[in-house]
Symmetry: C2
Subunit: 403 residues, 2 copies
Amino acid sequence: MIKNITNVTGIKCWGAHTGIKSLRRDLAIIYSEVPASAAAVFTQNEVVAAPVTLSKKHIKDGLIQAIVINSGNANAATGKQGMDGAEAMAKTMATELGIAEEMVLVASTGVIGVRFPTEEIVKGIKKNVTKLSSKSQAGSFAANAILTTDTFAKEGFIEFDVDGYQVNMGGIAKGSGMIHPNMATMLAFIVTDAAISSELLQKTVKQTVDKTFNMITVDGDTSTNDMVAVLANGKAGNPKLESENDKDFEAFRTNLEEMMIHLAKQIVSDGEGASKFVEYEIVNAPNEVYARTMIRTISNSSLVKAALYGRDPNWGRIICAAGNAGLAFDYEKIDLYMGSDENIIPVLEKGVPAEFNRNFMKKLLRESHIKIKLDLHNGQASACGWGTDLTTDYVLFNSVYTT
Amino acid sequence: MIKNITNVTGIKCWGAHTGIKSLRRDLAIIYSEVPASAAAVFTQNEVVAAPVTLSKKHIKDGLIQAIVINSGNANAATGKQGMDGAEAMAKTMATELGIAEEMVLVASTGVIGVRFPTEEIVKGIKKNVTKLSSKSQAGSFAANAILTTDTFAKEGFIEFDVDGYQVNMGGIAKGSGMIHPNMATMLAFIVTDAAISSELLQKTVKQTVDKTFNMITVDGDTSTNDMVAVLANGKAGNPKLESENDKDFEAFRTNLEEMMIHLAKQIVSDGEGASKFVEYEIVNAPNEVYARTMIRTISNSSLVKAALYGRDPNWGRIICAAGNAGLAFDYEKIDLYMGSDENIIPVLEKGVPAEFNRNFMKKLLRESHIKIKLDLHNGQASACGWGTDLTTDYVLFNSVYTT
């Protein structure tokens, strides 16, 4: 049996159909037997959905015990009616579970600007809380219930050791499917039984999201509903991690990073209309923020993305996009490599076009997993990022009149 | 006869074929009988073509008497050989015209990373300087010689009055055609017989470019070769404009702005693979920079652009893109209008979806000229911008394996 979030000690969940969507599951609930240290990163978009506003408030004290997520309606641009709906979701969960309202995190994804179906969701929560389960199938139901136009559920599970104690970590996510009339929402929920303080968890989650979820792109746009939340309930029994210098904090950090990269890559792989998964790496940069900014500029360039769709080793567009990042660099020091996941070859050496076998390169770029590596020879920092190509299918998907 | 840059007093030009391109004209030369006050704005890309580096040096003193432009080779990523080539272009022009090298502006557009054909161009300059002419046809030859994958020549001419003197102003431009292996280059050259100091001209050109050429987008990427230059030779005889408070400086400024908007709109109209010309307007914003930043974020959003291709009045994507601009705004104050050039109707009123006739809206969005207007109700500033939709043709054009 494949392990998932239900294999995290003290975690129960469920996924059900309440009627917001016509057929598929649209309500996920996750519950921790004990209050968990909790940390989250929310959308940077200026327009924020009601559940984001509410969840920010509830997570302030660093403790959460339950998460309720609906799909099919984003509860964004819904005014007071929407805020009342988000509050009703938290309140119903709290009442049914016998916990405080402030212990509940609320998330939504789906169409925006459509009246929020509070009654149906409240009824659905009441009906399904009793079904909370630690059976593997329950985890799968939850992972499926948060999807919108995603073509597959995104899940992950890792076990690792902290100070001699076995720690379990599971996660679910949904990706960048476009939904009428609207936008890509990224949601990710990670639960672990590690014991860690809220403060250290918040700091670690923020840093790790910057290196993982914030380094993926399908559209370049963020949504009103984006949310990445991590709950750590301490059930593994390890001495509580309180500082970055604690024994095996690094094990926790690297495993959290691995989980986030795993979920982030699945989101990119499921990017609507994309035909290629593109991995970017920048090495020998002045610092990490510099490297990440440059990767984001390149991976968001429509010209670079269209060239990749056409299997064109178009180094000119890549260098030009790098030049648009607003960062100083010495063009005559740059080496650029392109190729497949397994084989990358130089296309530019110290700023001069390299001689390479064009037929072999064409073959490499025909793969569905492409790699692009830029060596700036200007420092020791590096960063990775993940994106897609830009296809005619992407345009068709996102142009269809659906409203 | 349609007037063009040759109708500016003291201006001669020519456009010819030297052999960089197989058939079309690839060399343009513009000459002013007397040294002209000159101002230019160059690409912000970190990677800069050789002619840009050279021209920045030559224009420093604010005086230019000739411009030489080649198309077909961008002279970018060409190292010392390229810099020698750019210098040879300036030197040949100077020798043939009997002026100082520093009085020559050099520009290139075309493929990058390909050896610069200095000899052919030098030979071409020598052969064609004698043909400099003030006949209308010469202006048309010049306008055509700077094109790459543009489908039409971009020209403009205006006459206006400064302090009782008739002033003429003409301009040529090339747009955002993608060229193998590479990138969109925007070039624009405006000549006028107005008398204006170099300092005032530089200040005015910078401000006006920010409101015009910098407000258009096809790809969102800038190139290594972008250049907008303005020459004012004083032949109109008006008392020299030295200060923004001078009589009729405002007439000069508004006409320069009108010329730049005219050329900029032509560039957008010729955006490769675009099916729609989209005009954005933001009103009642806190300040102009704010309004321009928000327009640029919206007009560059792939999601917004794809929705327009699909004639989808997708206000969610527009608001979401606005929310990505990194600017604070009050969503509940916003009015959003969409429609055609002639008829825009509200789709969002004070943040609430407006009731509108969907069939009528569909009809409006079927037009090739679309308008989107955002009223922030948060200040008095406004701005305009121009962009395209994102089409399957765009992706095909830019994905074709051409290297």
